[in-house]
């Protein structure tokens, strides 16, 4: 019998999801995407549920995407944005969480600069915790929307060659994507300067290379990761110019991939740093599809965490 609900109450990371749970989210997102194409883009599924978007880091795309997803599901939603600096002076994360918990929200969507912040909240709150990015750890809904976008374009994930190029060391998107793609049988290659490769990747079942041409050769999917400009101060590479010439995704490099390769990027993009504008804006790019699909995938996650089909229908 097909799975109809997630086995866990929280979405802390892809690490906790089984392959059939991932497929369930993607299948559910198909239905949610249809909702977003209606004139009246709203279903009553989460009516009466309170969802708090608790963001300790600036975010435009992810927060907006969650908020739209919540509103389309008829949840009562509110945004709490807290600058990390004020937390240092004042209330701890635990106290903030206990105060929010006292108001009985159904779910808390958390974005935080510290890895493990969602785990900490999940031990305090009765509400379901949805990880919207915790430090360098995971960004599970990003990996799910990436997988949804790949599946939409390619019809499958298993057996595809996916090349992930960029700052692997500091990327939560990388971790979540590696976990998800390997669970679903994709052949994952990762590529970065040696200074930006974390340990342990081969044990996670991915191929590691510092040569972009090798990574993208014959690829079905090229996924670029953002180079955070502040990394320059860390001395991870000599200059943005050298980074672009050595690792930047240019049309010439894309030409080494399969003719129907898709180019992905979690955003925000740095044009001319990790990706040439011609590639970002070109025919292979699905970067804006990713953004569009983010809403459907987040609707699916929220719906399933709220109880899925056991609770209410999407009618």
């Amino acid at each position: 019998m097909a799975l109809t609900a997630l086995r866990q109450k929280h979405l802390l990371g892809i690490a906790d999801l089984s392959p059939d749970e991932i497929v369930l989210v993607l299948d559910t997102a198909d239905a949610m995407k249809e909702v977003g194409q209606r004139t009246i883009k709203k279903v009553p599924t989460l009516r009466g549920r309170t969802v708090i978007n608790l963001f300790f880091e600036p975010s435009t795309r992810t927060r907006t995407s969650f908020e739209i997803a919540e509103k389309r599901l008829s949840a009562d939603t509110l945004n709490v944005a807290i600058a990390s600096s004020s937390v240092v002076k004042g209330e701890t994360l635990v106290d903030t969480a206990m105060n929010l918990e006292a108001m009985s929200p159904s779910m808390i969507v958390l974005r935080h600069a510290s890895a493990g912040a969602c785990h900490l909240l999940s031990r305090i709150c009765k509400a379901s915790i949805v990880n919207a990015g915790d430090g360098m750890h995971e960004h599970p809904t990003q990996a799910l929307l990436d997988a949804f976008t790949i599946r939409e374009r390619k019809g499958r994930l298993a057996g595809l060659k996916v090349a992930i190029v960029g700052d692997l060391l500091h990327s939560r998107v990388l971790r979540s994507n590696v976990l998800l793609l390997t669970k679903l049988g994709a052949e994952v290659w990762v590529c970065a300067p040696a200074t930006l490769i974390p340990p342990g990747l081969p044990q996670m079942g991915v191929r590691v290379t510092t040569r972009v041409d090798e990574a993208v050769a014959g690829a079905d999917v090229i996924m670029m990761l953002r180079i955070q400009l502040e990394r320059m101060q860390g001395g991870f590479f000599p200059s943005l110019r050298e980074y672009f010439t050595t690792f930047g995704m240019t049309e010439a490099r894309v030409a080494r991939a399969k003719p129907d390769v898709i180019i992905m990027h979690p955003g925000p993009i740095n044009r001319g740093v990790e990706i040439a504008s011609e590639v970002a804006d070109g025919a292979h790019s699905v970067i804006l599809d990713q953004v569009a699909n983010g809403v459907a995938v987040r609707m699916a996650v929220l719906y399933l965490l709220a109880g899925g089909a056991d609770n209410e229908t999407v009618a």
Partner: protein, 433 residues
């Protein structure tokens, strides 16, 4: 007043003794050790089935006083020490203010005298304010009662300062204790650099950050003839550097903490992901590192087991992993862990355990103890080697409860602790009848 410890197994490697003997205490001194001593008016303490050792000395403890009394005080820390079987502790200078002058040293010693439990040997700062710029007044610290110097919590900042400290302390029979860590390699790391930290998204601290500083100091000790003591080793490369230094005759000694010979960085992920009680500096490392600590303890490279007892308040640890302070308490778990994981498993003998926890710390710090010879101070640790112990953090004597061993069970524990002939702790779970 005389007391006779009757019928216990006396393990006293400094005097080549391991067998069933009686120990006669007269006042604050050992009067005699021998077979079937006559009670002759002495109060008799029957200790058959127990192990009598020269008092254990924990040479690496943070008592937090002055300045951070919400974490620990000299009184609560020494109460935890005796409950953990330690008759003496050496306390680190990273208090507020830093113990870089006689005034702070005297305050600590006065608090220790008031508490009147374990002996306390203050360790002074290498540099004024632990700022790594100029030497602290080390002769003054020595005169006030400090037994060693260190900038623990931080490494001695530069090679030239370490050189000067090694040269200068050599005048006073004091070791320079080094917290080995290259600050640029450590960066803002919070966990061992490896697959576990990478999968958890935690910034790494490579083992080389420790070994580089150890290597630097061993070379400087060799050059100057000074004595460097490498604190809380965690990386296999560090122990290798020490082993090589010792083989060349360098005056280098070293210690390992129980958590580094029992735990690995897997603890960061499970059973409780991001448990801040698994965050300490140096961090829990890989199995290879943990196994190298055990091998070094077994082959004699390691001189001492010390706890790096680092109490932190509940509030300070109940935060995001990367915001939590480094450190765990250790005074009340070290003996049980060592008996269970090293002695009962056959890695070391009881005699070697006594060397690691009593004889060698006494020699490294040039403090009394480490021996049950007639005339020695009557500082005695009595072990119950078969006692079943389950660690319950709520029952720790220490003011802080930050232990990763909550709920763990061990075979072996402390029966009683005697300081200067006076029983300062007796375990209610052990009948001394």
């Amino acid at each position: 007043m005389k007391r006779l410890l009757k019928g216990g197994r006396v393990v006293d490697p400094a005097n080549g003794r391991d067998g069933i003997f009686d120990v006669l205490i007269d006042g604050d001194r050992i009067a005699e050790v021998g077979a079937s001593l006559s009670a002759d008016g002495a109060e008799v303490m029957p200790v058959a089935g127990l192990v009598i050792c020269p008092g254990f000395i924990d040479m690496h403890v943070h008592l937090r006083e002055p300045g951070q009394e919400h974490k620990e005080t000299v009184a609560t820390g020494t109460a935890a020490a005796v409950a953990g079987g330690f008759t003496a502790v050496a306390c680190m200078p990273n208090t507020r203010p830093v113990n870089d002058n006689a005034g702070v040293t005297q305050l600590i010693l006065q608090k220790a005298a008031d508490a009147n439990l374990a002996r306390v040997y203050p360790i002074g700062a290498v540099s004024r304010g632990q700022k790594g710029e100029e030497l602290a007044d080390i002769a003054e610290l020595k005169a006030a009662g400090c037994v060693a110097v260190t900038d623990d919590g931080l490494p001695v900042a530069t090679a030239i300062l370490a050189r000067r400290a090694l040269e200068y302390t050599s005048m006073f029979d004091m070791p320079m204790i080094e917290h080995c860590e290259d600050p640029s390699l450590k960066g803002d790391g919070v966990a061992h650099e490896g697959p576990v930290a990478a999968s958890l998204g935690l910034r790494g601290i490579p083992g080389a950050a420790e070994a580089i500083t150890a290597g630097r100091d061993i070379l400087l000790a060799e050059m100057t003839g000074g004595h460097v003591h490498i604190a809380h080793m965690s990386a296999w490369t560090t122990i290798e550097a020490v082993r090589q230094g010792k083989s060349r005759g360098v005056k280098v000694t070293c210690e390992v903490c129980p958590h580094h010979f029992t735990l690995t960085d897997d603890m960061l992920a499970a059973p409780i992901a991001y448990d801040t009680n698994t965050k300490m500096n140096p961090p829990l490392r890989a199995a290879r590192d943990r196994d190298a600590m055990i091998a070094g303890i077994a082959d004699g490279t390691v001189d001492a087991i010390a706890t790096d007892h680092a109490p932190h308040h509940y509030d300070e640890k109940n935060v995001e992993f990367d915001r939590a302070p480094f450190g765990i308490v250790g005074l009340e778990t070290a003996v049980s862990i060592t008996l269970d994981r090293l002695v009962h498993t056959g890695v070391i003998t009881l005699s070697r355990m006594v060397e690691l926890m009593s004889v060698n710390p006494s020699r490294i710090l040039h403090v009394p103890g480490g021996s049950l010879a007639a005339g020695a101070v009557a500082d005695i640790t009595i072990l119950a080697p078969d006692l079943q112990v389950t660690i319950d953090k709520t029952r720790l004597v220490s003011k802080s409860k930050n232990t990763p061993y909550h709920g763990w069970s061990f075979t072996g524990g402390v029966a009683a602790t005697i300081v200067g002939g006076r029983t300062v702790y007796s375990n209610p779970a052990v009948k001394l009848t």
